[in-house]
């Protein structure tokens, strides 16, 4: 018994020392294999992830550097813990210019002025996008793809394509043609933790067209109160849309944004129009099985002629957390027209880079034109607001959709969030 026991003890000691040695070996080996890779985090999964990997494939071939992409819907969690702990990916898709500003002010982001060819970048990219990636005069974020918002989509089989000049004209047409089981609008707000964002897009478009870019900017900066006539009327206009929507408020609130427009493609259409950004075409094809002949769009019309030609848009912003040679190389590559053309060619994406032009179809080409030629362009308001305000905005739209009579209370609550959300900056 005691002989076996002592053998057991010696065996355990040997195993312990062996594993310690292995551990040391593995760790030291790891120091060297750090080179030759770039770690990237983004929110894209599924088809979008595929597209991103295709976008970086030529880079990997040319330089031999491996791009390690991880997709996570919870990018906020990863980046917040990362900034606090210091363990961050090399490059990351940032949730929005608001967050980018916070990270830059904490000193977590690497300024890009010396890393990419800044002059070419500024020459090729629309000034709006350059500006949004800049904090205190230094460039921290670049847009690797863009989208134009405030497009009204329709099915040519059920609508003749007349482009209304004003919003009132559009509502008159909708009233006239939405008869029987066909409602005027299809709206869907569900999007997991981000539920409510399509409604914020609606309200932002109303604010911009009803009250103009100055009010919009003040509102985004937290200087314009939520419970004010301008923001109220935007909410109320959205409320009217919901009142004329397929399925009523329960459907609107419970239906995922990607499949909300499915009734538009039925033989007996459930609705005539759908308000969404340019990237929704991917979802039309995947969720509703539509082809490019089944959908078309026109720009959401003006409301107040003083603020004509206004457009909202958004984009995917990338920033660099770790300054390594591989990360620099990838960042340089991602801002080139050559790289951005790849995703644009796949579909569902536009670019802020004016040299990109291989649009897969006419619809993409027209939306790019709208983006480039917008007289008054504004970035998506909720993406620009501090995260706490953004979250409150999303929840508020969900509540308002269900209880339009509570508008006063909802706006007052938004104002109280505004007081603390902007105070922290």
């Amino acid at each position: 018994m005691s002989i076996r026991r002592s053998l057991l003890i010696r065996g355990a000691a040997a195993a312990g020392s062996l594993t310690l040695l292995l551990g040391a070996a593995a760790c030291s080996e790891d120091e060297e294999s750090g080179s030759g890779t770039v770690s990237v985090i983004g929110t894209w999964g599924g088809a979008e992830q595929e597209a991103f990997l295709q976008m970086v494939a030529p880079f990997e071939e040319k330089t031999g550097i491996k791009v390690e992409y991880t997709g996570t819907r919870d990018i906020n969690a990863v980046l917040t813990t990362g900034v606090a702990s210091g363990i961050l990916p090399d490059l990351a898709g940032l949730p929005g210019p608001g967050q980018m500003r916070e990270f830059a002010q904490r000193g977590a982001l690497v300024p890009l002025d010396d890393i990419i060819d800044i002059d070419t970048y500024k020459a090729e990219t629309s000034p709006g996008f350059v500006e949004l990636g800049t904090v205190d005069g230094q460039l921290y974020g670049v847009f690797i793809k863009a989208a134009v918002k405030g497009l009204i989509w329709y099915n040519p089989a059920h609508y003749d394509g007349t482009v209304p000049e004003t919003w009132d004209e559009l509502t008159a047409i909708a009233d006239e043609q939405a008869t029987g089981d066909t409602a005027a609008w299809c709206v869907g707000l569900e999007a997991g933790p981000g539920s409510g964002w399509p409604a914020t897009d609606w309200i932002e478009d109303f604010v911009l067209r009803q009250s103009g870019p100055d009010v919009y900017d003040a509102w985004v900066a937290g200087e314009h109160p939520w419970n004010s006539p301008e923001i109220r009327s935007a909410f109320e206009a959205y409320g009217e849309v919901v009142a004329n929507s397929y399925g009523g408020s329960d459907y609107v609130v419970n239906t995922n944004f990607g499949s909300a427009a499915n009734p538009m493609f039925d033989d007996e259409p459930g609705c005539l129009f759908h308000h969404q950004a340019s990237f929704i075409t991917e979802f039309f094809q995947d969720e509703a099985g539509a082809s490019t002949e089944d959908y078309d769009f026109f720009r959401m019309p003006d409301i107040n002629p003083a603020y004509a030609g206004a457009m909202t848009g958004a984009g995917d912003l990338f920033g660099m957390f770790n300054d390594t040679p591989e990360a620099r190389a990838l960042m340089e590559y991602l801002v080139t027209a050559e790289a951005q053309s790849i995703w644009v060619g796949i579909g569902g994406a536009l670019s802020g880079n004016s040299k990109v032009d291989n649009y897969p179809d006419e619809i993409a080409a027209r939306s790019a034109e709208l983006l480039a030629q917008a007289e008054v362009f504004r970035f998506d308001a909720s993406d620009l607001m501090p995260e706490a305000m953004n979250n409150a905005f999303w929840s508020a739209t969900l509540e308002y959709t269900q209880k339009p009579g509570d508008l006063d209370r909802i706006l007052n609550e938004l104002d109280s969030v505004r007081e603390s959300a902007y105070a922290e900056e």
Binding site: I9, A12, A13, A15, G16, L18, T19, L20, L22, G23, A26, C27, D30, S33, D74, N76, A77, T80, T81, A84, E102, R106, G192, P193, S195, G196, D250, Y251, V253, N254, T255, E387, A388, N391, S395, L398, E399, Q402, E413, S420, E424
Partner: protein, 319 residues
């Protein structure tokens, strides 16, 4: 570490080996100490790894969280009770507190109630093992998996949502289970009850089988009906077991996060404290407020902990 296989091998072999090695080491050291003090010192040396582990991963984070709850967003400036003031003034947090209370009451009553019912009904029945296995099955999956499954069950579209399909069969309109308040909180609690009933049932069943059969025989001989036997004999004897399982359920109710996060993310007034804490920490990035919520939850659980410790002491005393 790049190689996951290497890492897992390291952990699986290395950690037990390290613990065994440590024990051997201190036994070796103890041989050189005077034999009077060896029995007194030995227990402390043996539990040092466990205590160290607890200190680093439990005690230090708790103290640090309490410290951070009195500091500002990035834990740089002392702000006193400002975070707590914000919490108790915030409508969302008050809603979350109320919801946690609902969770506490209805999860405990639901899980223990159904567990008790099933345990008593299938006791001494021939197909008892099969029924217990089926009821216990949901415990095998994670809360997140349960959340995903039940999202489909509650889906608004009758083509997808089972419950709304059934409602459609009775010509009732689709019910918005997850967006209608307060129905949605109860819908979420129902998912948790579904998951935990098996656990409650198994514990209570074990307690049930521990009741002396002679007692029940005696009661029957005295002319008691089955229902009276349950009320006057079985239930009082089961109370200790029910107390144990109830405290467990209360703790689970206060911790509820996964189900809410996956199914509604706290929208439509279904918010709970743990989800709120997650949002404050990761979405808003406010370390102070998130810590304050953690402290509130901690204080809420302390009575349960005291109750449990007292019971353990009583049980030890009996031994």
């Amino acid at each position: 570490m790049n190689n996951p296989l290497l890492t897992s091998g390291l952990v699986i072999i290395g950690v037990p080996a390290a613990v065994v090695g440590y024990i051997l080491l201190i036994e070796f050291i103890l041989r050189f100490l005077p034999s009077r003090i060896v029995p007194r010192v030995r227990p402390y040396l043996w539990i040092t790894p466990a205590l160290a582990f607890l200190a680093v991963f439990l005690v230090y984070p708790t103290i640090d969280t309490i410290r951070r709850s009195f500091m500002d967003r990035y834990s740089e400036k002392f702000v006193g009770l400002a975070n707590y003031e914000y919490l108790f003034g915030s409508k969302d947090v008050i809603t979350a507190l109320v919801n946690n209370l609902l969770w506490l009451v209805f999860l405990t009553v639901g899980a223990v109630g159904f567990g008790l019912l099933i345990a008593v009904l299938v006791d001494r029945v021939k197909y008892e093992p099969e029924v217990k296995s089926v009821v216990f099955l949901p415990m095998a999956i994670s809360f997140v998996a349960a959340g995903v499954i039940w999202r489909f069950m509650y889906d608004f579209r009758p083509e997808v949502g089972t419950l709304n399909a059934v409602a459609g069969a009775f010509n009732a309109g689709p019910i918005a289970w997850l967006s209608e308040s307060p129905l949605n909180t109860f819908a979420l609690i129902a998912v948790a009850v579904w998951m935990q009933v098996g656990f409650a049932m198994v514990i209570i069943s074990a307690g049930l089988k521990g009741i002396d059969a002679e007692l029940l025989e005696a009661a029957r001989v005295d002319g008691a009906t089955e229902f009276q036997i349950f009320r006057k004999v079985i239930f009082p004897l089961l109370l200790p077991t029910i107390a144990v399982i109830s405290t467990t359920m209360v703790i689970i109710a206060l911790k509820a996060f996964d189900i809410v996060y996956v199914m509604t993310n706290g929208n439509f007034h279904s918010e709970v404290l743990a989800n709120r804490m997650y949002k404050e920490l990761f979405n808003v990035g406010h370390f102070g407020r998130a810590s304050a919520i953690a402290v509130v939850l901690f204080i809420a659980i302390v009575p349960m902990m005291i109750f449990n410790i007292r019971r353990f002491r009583e049980q030890e005393a009996i031994r």
